[in-house]
């Protein structure tokens, strides 16, 4: 198995470890279903850590356990050095931004934002000032008197964020907060949230099923599947070196081939084609997955050579602005997807054109096939 230390799951230590939020051995079952099958995770101070997983992976349950809406059957949750496993949500000092914002529709924006301050018995004058400040911070100055329904989606998002941070929480939880926004606004809000989180040095736990969002926003990503954390690492690590087929398939676009190590640095694919492997290949006979990111194969000029080179014809072409995506059937009968910058040699290729692709053995990343 091809693993680097940074790509392997980190086992959090209950004491120390510098975790601002520490989750230790958390298990949560619902009848016969195990939603969380032993979660260990430490979020560092000032870090934005993303829990990424498909629906049903347990990420929402984990968020609820951290927020206090669910109590784990086993394990503990610590904020700093304080164990909060059984503390009521109100006693946790966590700011939360919900999927649909959960702004109180009967209160003005300012009243919404003042709500956590009021609950903490902050003096009126002080609270008003803090509300003003945070409104300016999220660029909603002057809109405090409006009702949530009088705001646009993006403005509601900002208001929800303001409400979650106004009382200086120990931890910021974001539960799929961008789901309701259209693409353009979503990207803008993502960057803004990231900027704000870094600016304020907030420790944040972010839950999403959108891998692209996770890659943009996170300091680190924890990929979850079936109640477990499969891989924990920086976006680059997760993208470049997924630990298994699931992570590989879930993060970014990829070509994934099932193969068996055939000796002499080659692997045999199901269809009979043979790929040159990277140097540290496992022993002969091992069943593996070969991951080839679409930007790795390059068109080969006539006569140029590569570790792996195949001729094929273009099935279809999709323009994505800066890049172009091609689906190509290689002559051994393998379909792959490649993505190249629009300008350059690829710009002129059309459907049914013949092309020769080449990539090195090191471009292939080996993952477990299971």
């Amino acid at each position: 198995m091809n693993e680097t230390p940074s790509g392997s799951p980190i086992r959090a230590t209950p004491t120390g470890g510098g975790g601002d939020l520490t989750i230790v051995g958390v298990v949560r079952r619902f009848g016969p279903v195990t939603a969380l099958a032993g979660i260990d995770l430490a979020v560092r101070k000032g870090e934005m850590l993303t829990i990424l997983g498909p629906s049903g992976s347990g990420k929402t349950t984990l968020l609820k356990v951290v927020a206090g809406f669910e109590t784990p059957d086993e394990g503990d949750v610590l904020l700093g050095a304080r164990t909060v496993t059984f503390a009521a949500p109100a006693k946790r000092d966590i700011g939360m931004v919900f999927q649909n914002y959960a702004l109180f529709p009967h209160m003005t924006v300012a009243q919404n934002i003042a709500f956590p301050l009021e609950m903490r018995k902050v003096a009126k004058a002080d609270a008003a000032k803090r509300v003003e400040d945070v409104l300016r911070l999220v660029d909603l100055a002057g809109l405090g008197g409006r009702l949530p329904r009088q705001l646009s989606g993006g403005q509601q998002q900002r208001a929800a964020l303001a409400r979650a941070i106004v009382f200086g929480p120990r931890l910021l939880l974001l539960d799929e907060p961008f789901g309701a926004l259209d693409r353009k606004l979503r990207e803008q809000m993502q960057l803004e949230v990231r900027r704000l989180q870094q600016h304020l040095g907030l420790t944040a736990l972010f839950v999403t099923h959108d891998q692209e969002e996770a890659l943009i926003l996170s300091d680190r990503i924890a990929v979850m599947d079936q109640g477990r954390i499969i891989q924990l690492g920086t976006p680059q690590e997760i993208y470049r070196r997924p630990v298994n087929r699931f992570v590989a398939g879930f993060i970014g676009e990829s070509n994934l081939f099932r193969a068996r190590v055939a000796g002499q640095g080659y692997a045999a694919l199901d269809g009979g084609a043979r790929f040159r492997l990277p140097a540290d290949a496992p022993p002969e006979g091992t069943e593996i997955g070969l991951l080839l990111r679409p930007e790795r194969p390059k068109p080969l000029a006539n006569g140029a050579a590569a570790d792996n080179s195949f001729a094929g014809s273009i099935l279809d072409v999709v323009y994505l602005g800066e890049t172009v995506k091609y689906r190509i059937r290689l002559d051994p009968g393998i379909e792959i997807v490649v993505r190249w910058p629009f300008h350059g040699s690829a710009g002129s290729l059309r459907k049914d054109d013949r092309v020769t692709l080449g990539w090195s053995g090191e471009d292939l990343h080996l993952v477990e096939w299971s």
Binding site: A67, G68, F69, A88, P89, A90, K91, R92, D93, I94, G95, M96, F98, Q99, N100, A102, F104, P105, H106, F115, P116, M119, R120, D139, L140, L147, P148, R149, S152, G153, G154, Q155, R163, A164, F167, K184, L185, Q188, M189, E192
Partner: protein, 294 residues
């Protein structure tokens, strides 16, 4: 920040722009609502109009003068509105928790609860009223129980007085309070309660600041409904009040059925209608800022 400009720019097209879209929806809405409108007009507005016309038959305002100055009618009108207010409050205090139970209880309890609340609708109002007479009387079940257990030494007067009227009317009208509140409670986004909790609110603050305000439209609908229905009651108050509680509807009914003095009955009705509308407007006004969002 440019985002603000972008998001702000997103709003007008939905509301101000594409006016024809809104217009077409209005036309469609009008078509859909038309049968109900015709129904309302024919069976409500038209009779009310005829009633008002009858009250000024012969060009004299004398019936109004009498209705508005005669101590009997003014006094009974005031008493009626007071009783209606008591009944509304009693229904609210009882109905709100019941509506919450219906919303929150696990199956099959809500269904069972709804059946129990609807049960009175399937019995005639007279039967229900006699039922209360059996329960509340001097020798009724409740008094006998209390006497036998030694909790009281003389029967507690619950029948043939205002207490009896309030109990009976509250019973009859409770469903009209429960269902509007229930309908609103069911739509309350429970995520908002979690949000409030997560933001540091203790249980009763969640209720006071979030849940109750969110159910306020239902509360107001229920109170309005019960209040207005209360004002028109007469059989239950006459029977359970032992004749000592006079409701304005009794006086109106008497003018219509016994004395055939329809113009005075119409004038009394018009005064009652106006008073009721005024109460409604005052209620709306009082809670206007709390309802702006809905």
């Amino acid at each position: 920040m440019t985002a603000a400009a972008v998001t702000a720019a997103r709003v007008p097209p939905d509301t101000a722009g594409r006016w024809w879209r809104g217009h077409r929806a209005d036309t469609l809405l009008a078509l859909v609502a038309a049968p109900a409108m015709v129904f309302l007009f024919a069976l409500y507005l038209l009779p009310v109009g005829l009633l008002l016309q009858q009250s000024v038959e012969g060009g004299s305002l004398a019936p109004y003068e009498k209705a508005l100055t005669d101590g009997l009618y003014v006094g009974v009108l005031f008493d009626t509105m007071l009783i209606a207010a008591y009944v509304s409050v009693a229904c609210l205090l009882l109905g709100y928790p019941v509506a919450y139970f219906l919303t929150a209880a696990p199956a099959p309890w809500p269904t069972i609860g709804i059946v129990f609340i609807l049960l009175p609708f399937w019995t005639s109002i007279l039967v229900r009223t006699y039922g209360w007479m059996i329960l509340l009387g001097r020798n009724g079940i409740i008094n006998r129980l209390l006497l036998e257990t030694g909790l009281i030494s003389t029967p507690f007067p619950m029948l043939n007085n205002t207490t009896g009227v309030l109990i009976g009317m509250t019973h009859v009208l409770l469903p009209y309070m429960v269902f509007p509140i229930y309908a609103v409670m069911r739509r309350v986004d429970l995520g908002l309660l979690s949000a409030a909790e997560g933001l540091g609110a203790p249980g009763w603050q969640i209720f006071r600041r979030v849940y109750f305000p969110l159910t306020l439209p239902g509360v107001l609908a229920g109170v309005t409904l019960v209040y207005i229905l209360s004002i028109g009651f007469f059989i239950t108050p006459a029977l359970l009040g032992g004749g000592k509680v006079i409701m304005i509807a009794v006086l109106i009914e008497m003018q219509v059925r016994q004395f055939l003095n329809w113009s005075f009955a119409a004038a009394l009705s018009a005064v009652l209608l106006t008073a009721t509308l005024l109460v409604y407007l005052v209620l709306r006004r009082l809670f206007r800022s709390d309802l702006q969002w809905s």
